[in-house]
């Protein structure tokens, strides 16, 4: 640990702000989930360097229909952000919204985790809270790999931070997504009814979450990356 880091860390009033997405990215880097989960990719996520591609933008459009639907369809098409969605593309999201009338959308959350070396203020935003359950909506462009969600720490952090026991991934699988968007249309693409995957609190969940926070803090100090995180007094 260098001198600067020690001084920073010893200030006990300081909290370092980090999002759940960054911590999940760190876990993927730590376990070498894929060849894309590099240290540079982690740093890019910390610094918010992210250029959304068409698939990400399409997924956001699906999200928007669920979060704050206030649009009418014209001639069987719906205008959402940069996209013009066909009924095969918007209907599953619309149905989902109707099936979850009591879901509270976009609920922010934060919690301080005291690691061995410093305090982390972990922040997140749940797609939906429905009763005592958390729901996360994702668009996927290939067969969903539930085991990847199972090992993820995203749901563990949300359960820990909200103090709830049940988390659902609701996955909208998008098929036949075209290589190019023409006049705002993803021609030929269609969206399947969502499939849900349940993740549950378990005895060691809080320990696991804190262990990841500790590993992350230790990594950031050792690599002298703390200056990349926002400090909160």
């Amino acid at each position: 640990m260098n001198i600067q880091s020690i001084e920073q860390v010893k200030d006990t009033d300081v909290k370092y702000k980090v999002s759940i997405s960054v911590l999940e990215k760190f876990r993927r880097f730590q376990t070498g989930t894929t060849k894309y989960d590099t240290e540079q990719a982690l740093l890019d996520t910390i610094m918010g360097k992210f250029v959304p591609n068409d698939k990400v933008k399409f997924g956001s459009a699906i999200h928007k229909i669920i979060e704050r639907f206030n649009r009418e369809a014209y001639n069987g098409e719906m205008y959402v952000d940069d996209f013009i969605l066909s009924s095969e593309q918007y209907r599953p999201a619309l149905e989902y919204r109707k099936q979850h009338p009591l879901m509270i959308h976009e609920v922010p959350i934060s919690k301080v985790y005291q690691t061995r070396d410093l305090q982390l203020l972990v922040t997140g935003r749940a797609d939906g809270i429905e009763g005592v359950e958390i729901r996360d909506i994702k668009a996927k462009f290939s067969l969903p790999l539930w085991s990847e969600y199972y090992v993820s720490y995203q749901w563990r952090f949300y359960l820990s931070m909200f103090g709830l026991d049940t988390f659902w991934y609701d996955i909208f699988e998008v098929r036949d997504f075209p290589p190019a968007i023409i006049n705002g249309r993803a021609i030929g693409a269609y969206v399947l009814e969502p499939e849900s995957f349940q993740c549950l609190r378990y005895d060691a969940l809080e320990d696991d979450v804190l262990t990841l926070c500790n590993d992350f803090a230790e990594f950031m100090i050792r690599k002298n990356y703390l200056n990349l995180l926002t400090k909160i007094k």
């Binding site: 376990t31 509270i104 809270i129 009763g131 067969l143 790999l145 349940q198 549950l200 060691a204």
Partner: protein, 308 residues
Amino acid sequence: MPVIRKDESLPKRPVVIVIYGEPGIGKTSLFNTSNNPLLIDFDRGVDRSIFRQDSLLVSRWEDVIQEEKAGTFKNYSTIGIDTAKAALDDFLMSYVIRQDQKLAKNKLGAYGAIGDEFKLFVNNRRADGADLVIIAHAKQEKDGDIIRNIPDVTGQSYNLLLRISDQVGYMRTVNNKRTIQFEPTDFTVGKNVARIPLVEIPDENDTRFKNFMATLIQQVKDAIARQSEIQQDALKKVELYREQIESCEDPDELTAILSVIRELPDNYQKGLLKLVSDSAKRNGFVADKEKGCYVRKEIAEYKTILPL
């Protein structure tokens, strides 16, 4: 179909339980202690089990479909699949390829078709009201530096099992006693909707063994029913407060609602606080932190200007 009134409890739904572990540990024998069971024996392993119950020996997936059409499964309360690997990766794989030869060269498509076919089978058993116990051997999977025991099926079938199951337990011997671990650990995959701690399986001569699996399944069903009631109760509260929050046009009223919400259990609070915050924004209210209440934005601005 009987109508269940909104204030009535829903009937306990059938469950799907995956039990995996090393060969010879007694997984099939454990299944035999279920309530009114029928084992679909894909692996020709039933003869090694004790307390043998009714079994269906199949040679291809079409045999399963035939028995389904004949209504055989409706006569049983618990259906066992032994083993998952043989059923999914061998029998169903051959079946979907026989249905569509192109899938022989399209493994991803084949697993999609297997998933659809198996989900149909599971849904039909649910419709019959039968519980499903899926038996699998264990294998080891590497995740970074960690080696974890998981059910022995191919990747896509593993994903399917994780998705459809309510409870996943690893059976192993600890201090010469057979146990089931449902809680996930660094070294075992698990799913534990009923939050069942490590269970020691009684000796086969013990009277408690005779209906051990039936008792376990009942525990899982009771836990799901309990959670469903908690969820229904929470949703009712959300509905009630949401109506009040959304119709609120007065800052004092919103402050009053906020103080009530703050008294609610933690797990209801955070979502409702978001609705209060949205309502304040929509109505142009701001928080007066000194007084701990909402005020109209124009009043807050007026107060700020007043001392000048």
